[in-house]
Point group: C5
Amino acid sequence: MARPSRYARKRRNTPGSPPGRWVADPAASETRLHTIRYAPDSVIETDGLETGGGGTAWLNIDGLRDQAQLARIAETFGLHPLAMEDVVNLHQRPKAEDYRDHLFVVLRMPRPRAEGFSTEQVSLFLGRDHVLTFQEDPGDVFDPVRARLRNPQSPIRGRGADYLAYALIDAITDAYFPVLEAMGERIEELEDAVVSRADPDQIARIHAIKHDLRTIRSALWPLRDLMSALLRDDSGRFSEQTRLYLRDCHDHTFQLIDMVETYREIVSGLVDIHLSTQANQTNEVMRVLTLIATVFIPLTFVVGVYGMNFDVMPELHWRWGYPVVMALMGAIAVGLALWFRHKGWLGRSRR
Amino acid sequence: MARPSRYARKRRNTPGSPPGRWVADPAASETRLHTIRYAPDSVIETDGLETGGGGTAWLNIDGLRDQAQLARIAETFGLHPLAMEDVVNLHQRPKAEDYRDHLFVVLRMPRPRAEGFSTEQVSLFLGRDHVLTFQEDPGDVFDPVRARLRNPQSPIRGRGADYLAYALIDAITDAYFPVLEAMGERIEELEDAVVSRADPDQIARIHAIKHDLRTIRSALWPLRDLMSALLRDDSGRFSEQTRLYLRDCHDHTFQLIDMVETYREIVSGLVDIHLSTQANQTNEVMRVLTLIATVFIPLTFVVGVYGMNFDVMPELHWRWGYPVVMALMGAIAVGLALWFRHKGWLGRSRR
Amino acid sequence: MARPSRYARKRRNTPGSPPGRWVADPAASETRLHTIRYAPDSVIETDGLETGGGGTAWLNIDGLRDQAQLARIAETFGLHPLAMEDVVNLHQRPKAEDYRDHLFVVLRMPRPRAEGFSTEQVSLFLGRDHVLTFQEDPGDVFDPVRARLRNPQSPIRGRGADYLAYALIDAITDAYFPVLEAMGERIEELEDAVVSRADPDQIARIHAIKHDLRTIRSALWPLRDLMSALLRDDSGRFSEQTRLYLRDCHDHTFQLIDMVETYREIVSGLVDIHLSTQANQTNEVMRVLTLIATVFIPLTFVVGVYGMNFDVMPELHWRWGYPVVMALMGAIAVGLALWFRHKGWLGRSRR
Amino acid sequence: MARPSRYARKRRNTPGSPPGRWVADPAASETRLHTIRYAPDSVIETDGLETGGGGTAWLNIDGLRDQAQLARIAETFGLHPLAMEDVVNLHQRPKAEDYRDHLFVVLRMPRPRAEGFSTEQVSLFLGRDHVLTFQEDPGDVFDPVRARLRNPQSPIRGRGADYLAYALIDAITDAYFPVLEAMGERIEELEDAVVSRADPDQIARIHAIKHDLRTIRSALWPLRDLMSALLRDDSGRFSEQTRLYLRDCHDHTFQLIDMVETYREIVSGLVDIHLSTQANQTNEVMRVLTLIATVFIPLTFVVGVYGMNFDVMPELHWRWGYPVVMALMGAIAVGLALWFRHKGWLGRSRR
Amino acid sequence: MARPSRYARKRRNTPGSPPGRWVADPAASETRLHTIRYAPDSVIETDGLETGGGGTAWLNIDGLRDQAQLARIAETFGLHPLAMEDVVNLHQRPKAEDYRDHLFVVLRMPRPRAEGFSTEQVSLFLGRDHVLTFQEDPGDVFDPVRARLRNPQSPIRGRGADYLAYALIDAITDAYFPVLEAMGERIEELEDAVVSRADPDQIARIHAIKHDLRTIRSALWPLRDLMSALLRDDSGRFSEQTRLYLRDCHDHTFQLIDMVETYREIVSGLVDIHLSTQANQTNEVMRVLTLIATVFIPLTFVVGVYGMNFDVMPELHWRWGYPVVMALMGAIAVGLALWFRHKGWLGRSRR
């Protein structure tokens, strides 16, 4: 099938190939570099790989197609080949790894889509006075951070690379809130539909939401572990003050996970509701069938009796035979209807 | 939809905005301040922000609309911006955070509603000689504590701010008991209904109770962790004696969680009962249909036979043909009825 | 409703009231005190509060109505108000708390009832040379311990208060075995019923047993934790030898929990069996309906054909038309019956 | 009921009776003692209680009826009364307890039965130069160990009591493999049956297998914990070399638990398969009923129309009326059949 | 049955037999030895057991039939008998054990099959300057490693035995990715089938996939623990640099486990979808039956009425009696059809 695979993530590397021999994907987005170098009183933005100058530098790379350029960046900053392998092999789980010169952090940035959302891998290297970020595609959630860097009044200018790294991680974490809010609305809509009527496609919609919740969950749980690891980290990469901010961000991941777990429980409950509503609809159909059949089957028997051709059937020759039989059958029908009403099968609305 | 969202909690902050830049919500309740300053032999209540004087002060702020006033309070007491951000951003999970000058505690206070309940965020700062509480709306569960503070005999007067903080936390914890008792009664009513008859709306009611239990549970589990953290805390904020009281309060959270978990299990079981009762009702309808159809379908066949127009049908001309056939059909009907009774489908009440 | 609440446990204290201000329940059983003071060579039993004399004393209080008397006892032995609050507020979870002068242990003593069982709160204070026990109602499982205390040969006389406390805890732990054995028998009976036939009340009975298992479980898990805590305790309250006995008792709680967890799994499985048996019964009814309808509906069509009044219907005038049609219908019926037997719907007993 | 209780294990001791006062069960198997005393170059077997002589001694006691003899053994070797209480009270969980002079280990030895298996309690005391084993009944899995002891070449002769204890524990652990293999075969058979056809007794068979898996599981999990405890033990009871063997045995318990947990998951899945197959069978019956009824009910109406006795029914007098109506009905029947085939209800085999 | 057992793994050793007495399986594949001895500037490959020469040696043994040859290898390299027992007894769980001279690692290598996959046991011994691998059958995933060894430029040549061991473990870990990708495709296909139509064999296919997921999971979880153990290992077997690579490999096991757990959840959800789709199909059949029966049963009654043979039935003699009755019945039919459409049972497509 030409359709992209939903569940099977492709790894590009051949199993058994040497580790740390990373290869850029020629089908990836075009590689574009953007550098912001800032100090409390200055900010310089360039599109080239420029390492000179003081202050703190943030190099953001969009698109991972250009092997040569990526290699040059890796060499310039001394990025470890194993880390670079993770940068170009997408579908990493969020994680933080310490490579002496750099702290290497992999994150998943959510992107809202028409129906649901997708996640994009963002790889972040935190060095002494620089932060490098590698993104799959152009377009990200970092614009508010860029605006703060360009704003001479913003305190972010006076803080180091560790604070910038925090700010970026925080922007990604916060980007999950609108995604989860949209998810919550989808769940509410589905819940209203499921409670009011069982349609065959509902179970597939429940399944689709479950899948999205699994995706978001598999991004958030490791994110939380990653944050815990950064908080416990005592290598001095993060200043005491930045750590306070990280704790705040860590707390946000807890809120997000709470929301996801709550949604998961709600959606699990919807399956029960759907099955019960489905059973109710079957019951309603059954009840109608039973009522009709139960009333008319005996009456049909009665009219059959008087359709028999026996020579000797005295009732047939009575003057009032026909109206009496019709009245009798009317009485039977009324009696059955009353009995059904008594049993609660008739007249009381079940929906 | 104009209807408020059930599941998606809104965050007011834009993702990526600088942390610690908190903004009061203009749609919140009006901000009102009330201060109780007490010592073993005196108590002074004012509605202004007054910091002078000895003893212990409890500043309670209802309503979080007035940015200027909140900022003045934050500045006066040196409250950390990150903590203030949590104060105005409702929907925090219960938690305790240490900010050097203050212990910052977020709690969720339950409020009974017509059907079920809601929770309101209460933020508490414990300083050396003062306690600040921030509430979403006027009206709280602290009146008994206020009464004790005003009572010259009450030992609370002679104890410090740590004991006051404990007393407030304890009041909030205890406020969950009546909420859970009301929940227990709702569950019992629903259980009685579910056992006696399956109605289509029961599964929705079960779903609603599950939702309420989830809400209460997501307030109680972090509350328990918070209490454990306070008990383990060795920063000297809580005196040895107050700690004994905290342990008691901690024990109450265990009781509450026990109740919630028990309710959750009971409510899960109700789904099974509902589905089984529903299946029984279908069975009953089916059985009636089967009985009627099984008795009358063969008889209708018999009368059909004698309604055929063959020239040569000797039975039709027998003198006793008609009564014999009617008796025969009566016998068939009685035989089938006896067989059904033998199979247990007739005559034994199934409900 | 006048009926006592099944799930909602009532707390008597008003939320927010000062802690450690305990109030006896006027509706509780009458307070009666019994003291056994023993030494290796003597035993004295009195009904008064008598503190003089050497050896070890066991004060047992039945009924918690008399505030004055309880207050006198609490004062005499220096019982902490927070502990006394737990003594008179029933529905505590089993727990052990250390109050400098006393180890305070709350236990739940099982009492068999006509159907199932209930639990009663027993509060135990272990002091240097005395043990106090507070019970809700007269009647307990301690008679074997009393008999051993009265027996001059029994080694219990020569051991201290710690051993007495162990003996009482052990008596309560052991009292769960007969309760669980009775539960096991109820489960077996229900299992036999569920396997052989699905009755609508079975799911309610399963639900009731689940409830009892939850009750017993919520008493046993904290009991086990309590025992673990006593075993880990290194305050020297328990002698090395008594600790060996406690380990044995701890082991019994493991056995009890094993039994409870096994029962829970069995009972969960019964729901599946019930639903499957229910579905089988529906199937059987359906099959009968289908057989009857499938055989007779075509035949009824055939006889209907020859009941038509067309002028030109040659078969009607054939000499052997009637017997041939009857034979043909017999053949159809036999053919269908054989086909049903082939499909396995007829003749093979399904139960 | 005379039938032995399936779930309720009976304890013989009265609750509250003094601990360590063990009583042999008069209904138990006859007590028989067998001693093997061995050294690298000698082996002596006797049936008496003989303590003299060097080397290592293994005393195996089958049957726990003879209180006097058991008491003599306990006294001779200084076995702790609490341990002896566990020896005669069967239904202990596997566990290891340290009693200064002895390591006391309780194990459960599996015994294959016609259908399934049962477990028997084996109590083992490991002393400095002797091992005592107490079994419920004669017959065990230790014969290969005995053969190795009698074999002058076997290295077991030269190793101490700790190695013998290991060998016995290993023999019991290994005895679970054939039991689980038989279980696996039962599960496969059941799985084949469940997939091909839903019979009402299958759910009971699934339930029975679940029960057996629970039994085996409740023996294996504590066995694994016991092994971990022995491996962590640093009292010097086990030599460095024996510990290596114990690690191997520990690893076997992991394999066994893996198998049990896998079986449990498989069996859980069988319930789903059974319910789905059951539903399919109902569907098939329903489909047949619907086909027959849907084809013949309209036709029966048609023939009823021409059975009416109106004076003016022109069709009845047409020459080709009868064959035209028959042909029309044939066309209706064929049309419905084609429509059913189109809907997939006819002609495609569903099984 | 001749069919190989699906669940019951056979152990060849008799329970109770002496440990470390390993026996090669005569039914295993033929034993073939291949040695690669390499140094930064040389590589020598032989098919014999040759121990001389410097550098690092990798001995790979395919097939475990030849007891004598295996014994010779074990003796030459001083492999522990307990480890050799695990080598020849297949079905070990992945694990790492330290035997002073060697680190012994058991792994399970996946092999894709026509439908699904199987796993083969690979045992690896890591010594100071050599690695031994034992495989069940010829054919493995190590060819890329061999190619790197033969390539003079490859850095693997200059690294020690620890790096070779890592490279082999990494090759096996990576081999799970294509297996899981194939699994993902099977799940997608099944999901599409289940959503669109309920076929009776789907539940069996779900069951089969669950079984495969269980198999792969029981290989991956211990693999992850093994990797964690190697990473924590501080015996100096792995150089600092190799450890960095091991961390990367460890990370891959996390990714694999994530995928497996996600698949398990998806497949669990498919059971719900299948049951719901099945219920929908039953509903559709029921609805058709109900429509037909409900329309025609009353009409059949009406025509029966006018088939009665009463002498006095005025309608029969009316000139327009027949067309009026026919029109009446048409009106009834249309009325019922409109009511059904109103109820949503007719005309709206349900799939």
